[in-house]
Symmetry: C2
Subunit: 203 residues, 2 copies
C-alpha cells in the first residue's frame, strides 16, 4: 500500500513538481480520503521525504553487498558502478524527484537526506581507497569521488531504458575511462600509425 502510494505520488511530483501537486490531487490519485492518506503516510512533505529516503536506502542496499566482499577492489568498483546504473535505470523517476524536490523539505528532513547521500558517497570512497591501498590506482579524495559520482549520476538525465547500451555497458565504459583515462598507451601508438582515421559520426 505504502509502496503504491509513493509510486503514484512520484509520478505526480515528476509532472507537476512538489508545489504544483495538491493534497486533494494526491488523495484522488491514490483513491484514499485525506484522513486515510494521512494515516498511511502523513503530510505531503512526509511523502516527499519517504520517496527520497526509500530511494537512497535501496541504492545503499543494492551497493553494500558488493562492497562487503573479498573481491579485488577493481571488481568491486565495476560491481557498484553497475549496481548504481541499474538502479538509475529502474528508479529514474524516483531519482529525478529526490534530486529536484529535496530542497523543499524541512531542514531536519534535508539533513537526513544529506546524511544518506553522504553514506552512499562513503561506500564509493571506501572502494576507491581500497584500490589505492592495494596499489591498483592512485589515492583519491572527496573531490575525486564527487567527480566520479557525477559521471554516473548524470546518466539519470539521458539514459533511456531502450537506449543502445545497457546500464551495465555504460557502467563498464565509465569505470574503464576513470581507471585508464583517455590517454591509452597502446591506442596512442596504434593511432599514430594510422593518422587518417575517419572521424566518429556526429550524434
Amino acid at each position: 500500500m505504502r509502496e503504491k502510494i509513493l509510486e503514484t505520488v512520484t509520478e505526480l511530483f515528476i509532472h507537476k513538481g512538489f508545489h504544483g501537486t495538491g493534497v486533494q490531487e494526491i488523495s484522488k490519485a491514490v483513491n484514499l480520503g485525506r484522513g486515510a492518506l494521512y494515516y498511511h503516510i502523513g503530510s505531503k512533505e512526509q511523502i516527499l521525504f519517504d520517496i527520497s529516503m526509500s530511494l537512497l536506502r535501496s541504492a545503499l542496499d543494492t551497493t553494500l553487498p558488493f562492497v562487503d566482499t573479498d573481491d579485488p577492489p577493481d571488481v568491486k568498483l565495476h560491481n557498484i558502478a553497475r549496481a548504481l546504473l541499474r538502479h538509475h535505470a529502474t528508479h529514474g523517476e524516483g531519482w529525478q524527484v529526490a534530486v529536484r524536490e529535496a530542497r523543499f523539505l524541512s531542514e531536519e528532513y534535508q539533513q537526513q537526506v544529506i546524511d544518506a547521500r553522504r553514506e552512499f558517497e562513503q561506500l564509493w570512497h571506501r572502494v576507491l581507497q581500497e584500490g589505492a591501498r592495494a596499489g591498483l590506482w592512485r589515492a583519491v579524495d572527496a573531490v575525486d569521488v564527487r567527480g566520479v559520482l557525477g559521471m554516473f549520476n548524470y546518466t539519470a538525465r539521458w539514459m533511456r531504458a531502450d537506449g543502445p547500451l545497457s546500464p551495465e555497458q555504460i557502467a563498464d565504459r565509465y569505470v574503464d575511462l576513470l581507471l585508464t583515462g583517455l590517454i591509452e598507451r597502446s591506442e596512442r601508438s596504434e593511432r599514430s600509425d594510422r593518422p587518417d582515421q575517419p572521424e566518429p559520426p556526429p550524434e
Copy 2:
C-alpha cells in the same frame, strides 16, 4: 531591467519552484504591475524559458572563444573546463533552475532548450575529437562526452564559492583525471613488474 527581473525570479523559483511561484508574487518581487511585467517579459513560462536560454547562451558564449583558437586540444580542454566551472560558480542558481524546472516548459520551448544543450555538448565533443585526431588521446563518442560533462556539471550540486578549491583548480583536477585516469602511468609500469597483482577485469 530584463536582467534584473530574471535574477529576481530565479531566486523565487529556487525557493518555491516554478509551480509554487505565483505571478502575483513575481509582480510584487520585481515591483511591477502585472501589465508592465507582461510587457517586459511575458508569461511565467516565458520567464522560465528566458532564464534557461540566457544561461545556456552565456555558457556557449564563454566557451566558444576557447574552442575557436589555434591552441592545442589539451589547452583547449583545460580552458573550456575552467570556463564551465567558473560559469557554474557564478551562475549556480540559474543552473539549478534551468536543470530542475525545464520540464515544465511547453514542448516547443523544451526543444529549444534541448537544442542549446546539444550545441554546448557539441563544443566539448569537438575539442575531444580534435585531441583524438592530433593523437593526444583516444577517440570519444557521445556516451563519453556525457560522462565527461556529468563530472563537470555535477559540481553545481556541491561546489561552494568559499570552498577550499577554486573552480579552476577543480576543473584542472578533473581534466587530469579524465586524461590520465586513476591508474597513473608510473603506477602502471610499476605494476607490470609485479605479476601477482590482480588482473584488470574483463571489459
